[in-house]
């Protein structure tokens, strides 16, 4: 079920709100009802894997309970390895088989298994909790609360990657308390903004770019098309930022403030700044659970600490690439971003001061160029795009290109979604609320016109 389609917006969401409204006065029902709604949401979207999600919750929670009793860290290590093994089986098994086949000079049969919806995200949610439990930072939780942490429907499929410490204490709070209307106003604004980003900008760009990338997979591109393909990063920004904003809005409707995931990333003046503003929750996860452990472990003698530091940076970003998908182009994309971070950090330490406008221009160009590799699916297809940049801009397409004019303008000029929402919801305003309603209506009509397009991050 898509957040940007009628079945969710007109059936599931109103029904879920109504059911939760009835359960809200009863503290012992709140979490259970939210778990049931979340499992129903997941079952609707991925009926074949609902049992996997339930089993995953049960096994991880049981491991935490056993650890609480016997204090054997091996129990937690074992279940984390199991989580990663399940993720590897579903997401990387065929990639591994294909590469082993290449090494052996043969073709190994591929496994016929689908990718469970949200597996990358709920695996990371488990890991965040279990690692912190192992470190003595996290308490034990009841099954219903833990189940909601993993399956909470606004974030279960594609994030944001909320830490247990950010959300666990919010579950089970009463939503309909004095002032709930303002919370709903903020939530609705986030949802409307997210739908606008997804439907009006990301999908409009996708409409232009999808056929071009399909053509790039087969050969050189016709004149000017490569310039459009070069703009893919704008599509994924508004696609995923839109998703995250809808998720934040939905979370608020059920009394949970999820963490922000984007902070106007294309206004960054260097690549390190960029990665603190783009998919923030994933980067915080990688920082705390991959990068810091790699840097802090005694892998190399002390005098090689800089080598270990920059090596950890590269490995973290390569894993970030691999997390996005089982393909060498994702790894290449991650490595390039890792290298850029190494260069950036050395430059900031030893290089001359770089004017912020130049830093911004270089960052945006680098993000756009690596975005082509991310999207192309193969180095050849990416090369077809890059070589096509020698042809002139396709200005003759005129009005067709409006999404590629609007998207950069929004990305470079506007503040982050959370700042926009904060600005407009500071004081109750009947006129603005009415306009928001009209805006949502227009977005619903647009969905009717085009149908719902899947979010890019559903495939990761």
């Amino acid at each position: 079920m898509l957040f940007n389609d009628y079945p969710f917006l007109l059936v599931f969401l109103p029904a879920a709100l109504l059911i939760y409204r009835l359960a809200d006065p009863y503290p012992h029902l709140r979490i259970g009802v939210q778990v049931a709604l979340s499992l129903a949401f997941y079952a609707w979207g991925s009926p074949s894997f609902i049992l996997l999600l339930i089993a995953s919750i049960a096994i991880n929670w049981l491991a935490s309970v056993v650890y609480g009793r016997v204090k054997w860290k091996a129990v937690l290590t074992l279940v984390i390895v199991l989580d990663l093994a399940v993720l590897a089986l579903f997401k990387y098994a065929n990639f591994l088989l294909a590469n082993v086949g290449l090494v052996l000079g043969t073709t190994l049969p591929a496994l016929d298994i689908g990718l469970p919806l949200g597996i990358s995200f709920f695996t990371f949610h488990h890991i965040m909790y279990l690692v912190d439990l192992k470190r003595g930072k996290a308490p034990l939780y009841a099954l219903d609360r833990y189940a909601l942490y993993i399956a909470f429907f606004p974030q279960a499929i594609a994030g944001p990657l909320a830490r247990w410490s950010e959300v666990m204490h919010q579950f089970g709070r009463q939503v309909y308390v004095p002032g709930w209307q303002r919370q709903f106003c903020i939530a609705t604004s986030f949802i409307a903004l997210g739908l606008f980003e997804k439907i009006m900008i990301a999908d409009s760009i996708a409409h232009l770019l999808d056929p071009i990338y399909a053509a790039a997979a087969h050969g050189p591109l016709p004149s000017g098309d490569a310039w459009l393909a070069f703009c893919f990063s704008f599509q994924i920004l508004f696609d995923f930022s839109g998703y995250s904003d809808i998720a934040i809005g939905l979370g608020l409707l059920f009394g949970v403030q999820l963490p922000y995931n984007f902070n106007a990333p294309l206004r960054s003046t260097n690549i390190q700044d960029f990665w603190q503003r783009w998919h923030i929750t994933l980067m915080l996860f990688l920082r705390d659970y991959v990068f810091y452990p790699l840097v802090n472990s005694r892998l190399l003698p002390r005098r090689f600490l800089p080598v270990q530091f920059f090596g950890a940076m590269l490995i973290t970003m390569a894993l970030c690439g691999l997390w996005h998908g089982a393909s060498w182009t994702f790894v290449l994309w991650g490595m390039l971003h890792g290298l850029a971070q190494v260069v950036c950090s050395l430059w900031r330490r030893y290089g001359p001061r770089c004017p912020s406008w130049l830093g911004w221009a270089l960052t945006v160009l680098f993000v756009l160029a690596t975005g082509v590799i991310f999207r192309a699916g193969s180095v050849e297809a990416a090369w077809h795009v890059f070589s096509g940049l020698l042809s002139p801009l396709p200005l003759e397409r005129g009005g067709q290109l409006w999404p590629l004019i609007a998207a950069p303008l929004f990305a470079f000029v506007l503040p982050a979604s959370q700042d926009i929402v904060a600005f407009f919801t500071r004081r109750p305003n009947v006129v603005l609320a009415g306009l928001l309603g009209v805006g949502i209506l227009a977005l619903l009509i647009q969905i009717g016109e085009r149908g719902g397009h899947e979010f890019v991050y559903f495939q990761f």
Binding site: C185, T188, A433, L436, G437, V438, I440, L441, I445, G448
Partner: protein, 318 residues
């Protein structure tokens, strides 16, 4: 509250508008019974034409039947033809229109189908990403209402209000549109070339034509007295299958599969115009490889009229 009030009020206004106006003139809504549409998209405009009871006969297929003029066929046959071709549609779209036409007419006298290459596919193709509006022809009232929540439906609603006010003319009721207005004679034509050499073929073709089965099932529901003429439209000679090749054998097998649909029906015939002759070798008779011009359209209309008069014994001049 103001936000949801505006949303609910807006949605209610739109629902009221589309229910009162019936944007596509599908007959499901619209107590005001505004006649006709100003819709230039045949995929949706055909729903209005297909339920117009002034017609008793129809031309169906995709754009390769577009240039057949209902008025000329009317004059030659005494019937009342309507153009229901759906350019670029899958054969299943044409069959949905046929079914809708049948449900809205008590008396049907003749059906003409343009059976071009897509009808001879040996596999049912997956539906395209930009699908034909089946909901408009087959859907229930609720399903249809759900699809009317679009900018296109709002646009058609205002067009129909303009028609009711007399501020706008509806498009032709018989659905005829001459694409030569767009591609004037001499301005666009295919390039003459030697047909590609293909390996000789002496085997037996056992290919199956699923769309022929679908059409047979659809036609089978009509009384025997409904005349059916299937036209395999001409193409520019460069893509006419060369005799003795597998393509030619497949085309012949496809022709026979469709011929079985009309055999045994009075005043019915299958006419195969996909031949290599002086007419199909003249670039001036085509706009591109598959769309013929007026000179050929007139010949096909004569062939259709002759078939409706004499059935399989009709003399076809081509």
């Amino acid at each position: 509250m103001a936000c949801f009030g505006a949303l609910a009020l807006g949605a209610a206004l739109i629902a009221t508008l589309v229910i009162l106006v019936d944007p596509y003139d599908s007959g499901r809504f619209g107590p005001f019974a505004i006649r006709g549409v100003a819709d230039r998209n045949p995929w949706t405009a055909n729903v209005s034409r297909a339920r117009d009871t002034q017609f008793d006969s129809a031309i169906l297929g995709n754009s390769t039947g577009q240039l057949l003029e209902p008025a000329r066929l009317d004059k030659a046959t005494g019937l009342r033809f309507v153009q229901l071709v759906a350019p670029g549609a899958d054969p299943r779209g044409d069959l949905a229109i046929l079914d809708f036409f049948a449900r809205h007419h008590q008396t049907i006298r003749a059906l003409v189908f343009s059976i071009d290459q897509p009808w001879c596919s040996q596999a049912v193709l997956p539906l395209s990403k930009d699908p034909f509006p089946y909901w408009l022809y087959e859907g229930g009232t609720l399903r249809q209402l759900g699809h009317l929540f679009t900018w296109a439906a709002l646009d058609r609603s205002f067009q129909r209000i303009a028609i009711a006010r007399g501020a706008r003319q509806p498009v032709r009721a018989d659905g005829y549109w001459n694409y030569e207005e767009l591609w004037a004679p001499g301005a666009k034509h295919p390039t003459a070339a030697e047909p590609a050499n293909a390996a000789p073929f002496r085997g037996k073709v056992t290919d199956h034509f699923p769309y022929a089965d679908m059409l047979a099932a659809a036609i089978g529901k009509f009384p025997r007295e409904v005349a059916v003429v299937l036209v395999m439209p001409p193409t520019f000679y460069t893509i006419v299958p060369v005799p003795g090749t597998r393509d030619a054998a497949v085309h012949a097998a496809c022709r026979e599969a469709f011929r079985s649909i009309v055999s045994g029906r009075a005043n019915s015939n299958l006419v195969d115009y996909r031949v290599d002759n002086a007419l199909t070798r003249d670039p001036a008779n085509f706009t591109d490889l598959v769309h013929y011009r007026a000179a050929i359209a007139r010949r096909i209309e004569q062939g259709i009229a002759a078939s409706l008069r004499d059935g399989q014994g009709a003399k076809i001049d081509f």
